[in-house]
Symmetry: C2
Subunit: 120 residues, 2 copies
């Protein structure tokens, strides 16, 4: 007798590889989102509990992998100045969120079947 | 002008949470698959470059989260004896692989759009 479904959540962590190298995934998506919201790499890093250097390294790796910059860094006096998403940056984030939603929708029914096999 | 798509692969790492706790994901799926193939937790651990203790802990966590055991442990003299997947174990693995395939199919088109934004 199948059990009643339990409180189940499925988190599709989509890792996008460019050739052999990891290019984009949930952490970079969250960083872009927080840069968009805070207008600053430094504030975005803080919001994620990440060092500024780590966030900066992630932004540099995006510059390396994507044809156009995803983040517009301000050319102001301090290298901790403002930052915004470029049009391409917003597009990448939007496609990625669309992929997550499509993945969730596609696995929903099977996920419920799996959930019935868990302890109530 | 969009770039030619580059060699892109997308790895949907589906993390299944039971209430607040992580219950099943790519590592446990691979462990089940290797137990099925090798007939032994110890050999499965070796094939994954994982300690026997770590593999055993993962199997115990499956016993804790699922209503029925996913792995039938042999009752022989050694606790490193044979192991096979139970019917429920095979079912969980099969549903999980089905979910991965459904996720990949669902994100394929958007993934190609994202791929065009990467460097060639």
């Amino acid at each position: 007798m199948p059990n009643k479904p339990v409180s189940l959540s499925i988190d599709p962590r989509l890792r996008i590889n460019h050739g052999r190298r990891f290019a984009f995934g949930p952490g970079k998506a969250e960083l872009l989102e927080k840069i968009e919201r805070t207008g600053s790499i430094s504030e975005a890093a803080k919001a994620m509990g990440m060092s500024y250097m780590r966030a900066w390294t992630l932004v540099k790796s995006l510059d390396r992998d994507f044809a156009e910059p995803l983040v517009n860094k301000s050319r102001g006096g301090s290298n901790r100045g403002g930052a915004t998403l470029s049009k391409t940056g917003r597009r990448v984030l939007s496609i990625y969120r669309e992929m997550e939603a499509a993945s969730k929708a596609a696995i929903h029914a099977a996920g419920k079947r799996l959930g019935r096999l868990l302890k109530p």
